[in-house]
Symmetry: C2
Subunit: 190 residues, 2 copies
């Protein structure tokens, strides 16, 4: 059995560009760090926005910083049903052809034409971790969760960078289906 | 590979006793069949209620008929987070020690002391099906879902009765984690 990998559950969240932050919060506005995330340099900000479609809305959805080159909304498929949209399951950054929605901030709103995805489950790791597990960037592996709702996830993407920290990211649907939360661990299976 | 088993996704719903139906909808009120469910005799009713806790609420949650000996609320763990309660993962009917909530109907409300569970994933089948799959009532098996979010569920309960029809019941978290919907199929693995 390989070394257990810590799990991080991603709730719905938003990444924003500098330009969109100007519109949502005002020209030159800077995100405030509320809490550092496990991946180095990434943080949950104090800032929250509303996500709105014709069918529904989520209030107070957190922006994760720092700013990115592309605005992206990551939601669970349970969330998608409430909003009446069908986001594809994608790796972060791959938003082509995905649905949009309206992001509402205190100073303005963005009608996003595309950018809403359900994140593809993935494992962040360093090159040293990759060597230890015998995998490489973009490999697809399985991940086993034990317990009352134990299961084995197929199609788990490996992402390797010396900027990463070892962690398996699942969304809330996946975490709840497996009854595993942040702080739990999974086992990587090749 | 064994014969594929149809999947049914259960959204949050409520089962009610005769006594509670009297309180929620009025003395002697009869549930109206909106749609027959796949399990013989079971139906989605036209009647809906609100589920309310101190932390949140869900409006218009459907009652499934017919009436039962015990009122029971089945929700996904994603729903539970919104309501601020922690339902156990249980087989239907096993509600001892589970949390409660308030059920609000058009004529009255019920303050349920216990009865809220997250359903344990399970496969309904007839004795003939059980013989074909080589399993028996209360066995625990695995279920494989293929596709983009393919996975293998562990701890899937077998329920055998000549009143059942072959079907694997998952909740919305499980369906979304596997990206499988009603009409999809799973493979039983022993």
């Amino acid at each position: 059995m390989s070394k257990p990998i810590p799990v991080g559950i991603s709730a719905r969240h938003v990444h924003v560009t500098r330009e969109h932050l100007d519109i949502l919060f005002g020209k030159g506005y800077q995100l405030t760090v509320k809490k550092d995330l496990s991946q180095p340099g990434q943080f949950a900000s104090e800032e929250q926005v509303d996500l709105v479609t014709e069918k529904g809305a989520f209030k107070k959805v957190r922006i994760l910083g720092p700013e990115r080159k592309q605005t992206q909304v990551e939601i669970a498929l349970t969330d998608a049903l409430k909003l009446g949209i069908k986001p594809p399951v994608r790796d972060s950054g791959d938003v082509k052809g995905s649905p949009g929605l309206t992001i509402v901030g205190p100073k303005g709103e963005i009608k996003l034409a595309e950018g809403v995805i359900a994140a593809c489950r993935h494992i962040h790791m360093t090159p040293a971790d990759a060597a230890e597990y015998g995998v490489k960037d973009k490999d697809i592996v399985k991940a086993r969760c034990d317990g009352e709702r134990g299961l084995i996830f197929d199609n788990v993407l490996i992402r390797v960078s010396d900027k990463f920290k070892l962690e398996c990211h699942l969304d809330t649907d996946e975490g709840n289906a497996a009854k595993i939360g942040t702080g739990g661990t999974i086992e990587l299976i090749k």
